[in-house]
């Protein structure tokens, strides 16, 4: 059984259990700390704040006391589109972002990007961020920068990479030990690892032995904006109907009926 999957193309993805997510923000900081994300004195303009992982606060828009809140962590969706035709990869004029057929990860080549921001216009999830400023760390703080991820320069776009450097390190280690594939726990993203509520599960969506394989098939599973055909690799599960409905846009008459998600799935 195992051998079969070793050579099959991987499709790394996530399943985030919104029932478990507490909105604590640990994933956001785990990501920033892992990926040398810079910060500035004022980060309250969220349209200028680089957060590869951003936790959105959703409400059901009901009046007090029927109000409900749900937190929704949003990494890069690593959209597959149809056959790797993800919204952003296809538009990048300089081939600075790429869809890997081997892992399903959408990469961003910082030294290639020249900052046209077309990919940002293309991404409906706002998962892409532009370096409007030079990254500056207060004196001494650059000591904690990780050598595994290069700090980005001003004027280019960056985004979540599913901690691709961790994949590379794990692969190197496996190769050194004479193995071909990776165990499920050998490659986990920083946010998955940090989540104190255990809401995030990460793995190969193509591998039936990985937890994500089963979780994504839950009847409560949905993805963001499936109807657009972006074919994202981040799944969410929620036991609450309004949350599942918030994942996409529906016309009024559709919303009243039971939504058959499979209709929008490709």
């Amino acid at each position: 059984m195992k051998k079969e999957h070793e050579h099959k193309a991987k499709k790394y993805g996530m399943v985030i259990d919104l029932d478990k997510c507490t909105g604590c923000g640990a994933c956001m900081v785990a990501c920033m700390a892992e990926n040398n994300v810079p910060f500035r004195a004022d980060e309250t303009d969220k349209l200028l704040s680089i957060t590869w992982m951003r936790v959105y606060k959703l409400t059901n828009a009901m009046p007090f006391p029927k109000t409900e809140i749900c937190y929704l962590p949003r990494p890069c969706m690593h959209c597959e589109g149809s056959h790797g035709h993800s919204p952003c990869v296809s538009v990048c004029p300089a081939t600075a972002t790429d869809y890997s057929e081997a892992t399903g990860i959408v990469s961003q080549i910082y030294t290639r990007c020249f900052g046209c921001r077309y990919c940002m216009a293309a991404c409906p999830y706002h998962a892409r961020y532009f370096n409007w400023w030079d990254p500056v760390w207060p004196e001494g703080m650059e000591k904690y920068l990780s050598p595994n991820v290069s700090p980005r320069m001003r004027g280019i776009v960056e985004k979540c990479s599913f901690c691709f450097h961790r994949y590379q390190l794990a692969m190197e280690k496996a190769h050194y030990e004479g193995r071909h594939g990776l165990e499920e726990d050998e490659y986990q993203t920083s946010c998955t690892q940090a989540c104190p509520a255990g809401a995030i599960t990460f793995g190969d969506l193509n591998n039936p032995h990985h937890a994500v394989y089963k979780l994504k098939k839950s009847e409560n599973a949905f993805r963001l904006l499936e109807r657009l055909g972006t074919n994202p690799k981040v799944y969410y599960t929620s036991s609450r109907k309004w949350v599942r409905q918030a994942g996409d846009n529906y016309l009024r008459d559709e919303k009243d009926n039971v939504i058959d998600k499979s209709k929008f799935r490709n």
Binding site: T51, F64, D134, P138, R154, A194, P196, G198
Partner: protein
Amino acid sequence: MKIDRRSFLSFIIGGAAGTALSPLPAKLTDDLSIWTQNWPWTPVPEDGEAIYADSVCTLCPGGCGISVRKIDDRAIKIEGMKGHPVNDGGICILGLSGLQLLYGPTRVKTPLKKTSNGGWKKISWDEAIAEVAENLGKLRSEGQPQALACISGSDQGTVPQLFRRFMTAYGSPNYMCVPSSQDSYSITLKLMQGAQASAGFDIENADFVLSLGSGIIEGWGSPVCMFKANSACEAKKGKVVQIEPRLSNTAAKADQWIPINPGTEGDLALGLAHLIIKDDLYDKDFVGNNTFGFDDWTDDKGKSCQGFRQFVLENYGPEKVAETTGIDADTLTSLAKSFASASNPVAICGRGQGKRPGSIHEFIAVHALNALKGSINRKGGVWAVPEPNYISWAEPETDAVAQKGLQTPRIDGAGTEKYPYTKSLLNRFAEVVGSEGESPVKMLFVSGANPCFTLPDTGAVKAAFENIPLVVSFSSYMDETAKAADLILPNHVFLERYEDVPPPAGVNKNVIGLSKPVVDPQFDTKHAGDAIISVAKALKGSVGSAFAWDSYEACLQETMGDKWDSLNEKGFVVPDTAPACEKTYTTPSGKFEFFAAGYEQVTIEGDEKWYPLILMPYDSMRLSSGFIGNPPFMTKTVEDTVLKGNDIVVEVNPLTVRESSALFVKDGDYAILSTPKGKATVRVHLSEGIMPGIVAMPTGLGHTAYDEYLAGKGTNFNELIGPVEDPASGLDAAWGIRAKLANIAS
């Protein structure tokens, strides 16, 4: 050749064309683009050998194990330690940001002495220790050792105990700790169970959690442990019901959120007790065999006393409780049913992160509810976790001066007849010291605490600090208290030092951890334990001889004895003695005791006529509101409905605005928030997730110290509220304050 204009022009044009066709422009273009990829001002982190160093995080009392990823001698990332009994790989947002504290710009890099013009002068450690010793010696020679006070962030662990020991040897009773809801719980356990213990909650194994405002996933207790317990409880289809006026994250995640009129939580507990008793749903076995005071009883003198049963049946009927709490009778009934029908229900209290103590009456009422269902010292219930006993130093010898000093009454009145069980009353500090006139405190040590930010009525606290002739701070950071100090003896930060970590707060886990140096000290700092030992030694005499250890590390090693090796190796030990299995009660009756009187609501400050609204604080995982200031990463995650630019945002129900005649604001508008204690300009966020009439303000903002990433952002809630003394314990029981919101112009 004669150069005329034509040939000159030809030369220029030809030259330009030649250069353009040469490889030079292409090379330059390429080089320029390569330069943009390696801008010298964009740092390139150095590579090296990657290793992991394990330790324990001490940024909060959570006691989580951490694994620090290092490249050579640089710490580059903090991760949760897999297999640690408290957090098993999970980690909170503050722990993750720890390296920003280690390498951050607000660290105090050397001992500092305040100059006469308010600036700072760098001094050597020898000078600093000598200066402190000299002043201490003077005070002692004047026969006033009790004029030395000490504020410690905690009471447990070797470092606080060294400070306490110092105070004893020196001769001052005025050792004070920063209070929290754990103090209220301890008193509750003392009163009802006779136990000298802290409360631990087995949320993980509970199948019904009734939380009266406790932020289970807002950082209450040991945050990561609670997160995991909450997830585990939910995974087992356990129910969580959150009772509080605001839709906090805990409320949002709970199975049910029931808004309640704030301050009436105790009434709710008793109302539920009423319904449970009335319907005979309580645990008759437990109540019958293990409790006292449930039924009416007769005292020694033959006087008949009302029991708890009769008391609640008479006074806490559902209609009355519905009116007080604002929760309708049907909801009360179904809530009582669900609580009573669960096999392992637990009721908890202590609002938000539990950083503030509260009304003992409320705690007792809630604890009585647990007793009704027998959820005491059993799986899924409340455990009386005995205070750790691994520190067994011989009592210090005291000389005559010290003995005399120790006999003077504590300045805060804790432990007196009025408040026999209260250990310290820091909430009285500002009042006792006063802002003018002679202060009873001539010298103050502050270690592991930032009272100039975290104590209510911060303005008064700061004024009191001004009134103390010599304040010595042991802070690693230039926080508000350090800024107000006269001398700073900077401690190592947690990643640079050894320290024992007592069992975490609010958890029924008996784990002792060891925080180990992960990196070398970055600056000229000294372990606070070493600093206090050095000061003692410099004082010589009985004070010096009370500290026989060569260093803090030697002291720690000796204290831990045979546990040291395994602590050093694994980072934690789980003592063999099972936690608090003493089902015996050391109360006068030898049983769990119910109380059938009192139960008064705490009246908050302010006149409703002038202040029609109620201001309440709310805690968030993304804002560190305690001793540690928010690191930049955490501030970055703060939503713009909490902080916008430098403005704090308060939550208000749209109805509050609609019904107010003085307030006309849209979402995001400015308003003036005033309370009897102070005034602040705020922005208003209209939210349906809060009860009308309440204004909710985040805690942890409004720092005046620290760096540009924190200073000046928002308003400190503590500046708008003052302490309200709890009649039973003397501890601060204020859960809010009356307030008014008005338009800026009016």
